[in-house]
């Protein structure tokens, strides 16, 4: 990974907003399925059961969706973490190189 191509502060902002919108989406999805249930409580006919089955089929995907949203943020957080690791290793290498070429001027 080329760390020069990571703008870590902007990426962090993207992650924060991503988490916030994902929370909003999670809340909305829960409310949507609660509202579907309320609708069916007010619509009791022979069609209610088949409608409920369709809602349940959709609802079963919500866990995956929520988990995927968390994973996107997690990948981006790993990118930042790597950026800092690489940056830190560059500093260590630079210091080491500095030590390696240190010249003791006292002999002169």
């Amino acid at each position: 990974m080329n760390d020069n191509k990571v703008n870590e502060s902007l990426l962090q902002k993207n992650i924060d907003l991503l988490k916030s919108y994902s929370n909003e989406e999670r809340k909305n999805l829960n409310l949507i399925f609660e509202k579907f249930d309320s609708c069916l409580a007010n619509y009791k006919t022979n069609n209610t059961k088949s409608m409920k089955n369709k809602h349940t089929a959709l609802k079963s995907r919500v866990t995956t969706i929520n988990s995927n949203r968390t994973k996107y943020a997690s990948v981006l957080e790993s990118v930042i973490r790597r950026y800092y690791e690489i940056a830190a290793s560059v500093v260590v290498a630079a210091r080491k190189a500095e030590g390696d070429i240190h010249v003791d001027e006292s002999d002169y």
Binding site: I15, L17, L31, K35, N42, K44, K54, Y72
Partner: protein
């Protein structure tokens, strides 16, 4: 089949559902905008692959939300089918024949009374004659009201049966399963 619908409440709930779906749509749009921006702020081989996967995720998300919309539309369709009837509807369609038969019996009884009143002796005093004529007239009104009631009942039953058949067709077209694969991505290049 029992039909028990709080039509007014269903209409309000479908409106609330529409608002929630719109909000969810906006949240999802924002999620993918942030992911798109993230791929500008992070650029390497991994980000290219990540961006490609995000395009797929967006497609699945749009399909999912589209399916939610269609389910909501089916409920809106049910509301539209019944809204002209009133605020609430309760009907036991299994008792349809028994109820129509009961009304038919009342109509038949009213006809019998009218027949008897028509055959009644007219040589009474004015007071009795007026009384018989009034009763006869009342009985005609009762019988006509019963006929109107029967016709309205038949119309209502037909309307419910047709509406439920149309709603069933709409529901049968909704997706029964929805694919949304688990997101798999690794920065170490072991992407699924």
């Amino acid at each position: 089949m029992i039909v028990d619908i709080n039509i007014k409440q269903l209409g309000s709930l479908v409106t609330e559902l529409t608002e929630l779906i719109n909000e969810c749509d906006e949240a999802e749009l924002n999620i993918f905008n942030q992911l798109k921006e993230a791929c500008v702020n992070w650029q390497d081989g991994n980000s290219v692959e990540f961006e490609g996967k995000m395009k797929n995720e967006k497609k699945y998300t749009q399909n999912f939300l589209g399916a939610i919309q269609k389910n909501k539309d089916a409920l809106r369709f049910a509301y539209d089918e019944y809204k002209a009837i009133g605020n609430k509807l309760y009907a036991n369609l299994e008792k349809k024949s028994a109820i129509i038969k009961a009304v038919d019996t009342c109509i038949s009884n009213a006809n019998d009374v009218i027949y008897e009143l028509d055959r009644a002796e007219r040589g009474f005093y004015y007071y009795e004659l007026t009384l018989i004529n009034n009763q006869r007239s009342n009985m005609y009104t009762v019988r006509d009201n019963l006929k109107t009631m029967k016709s309205k009942l038949n119309e209502l039953y037909k309307k419910i049966e047709n509406a439920e058949a149309r709603i069933a067709t709409k529901v049968s077209k909704l997706e029964s399963s929805m694919t949304f694969p688990e997101f798999d991505f690794s920065l170490d290049g072991r992407n699924g």
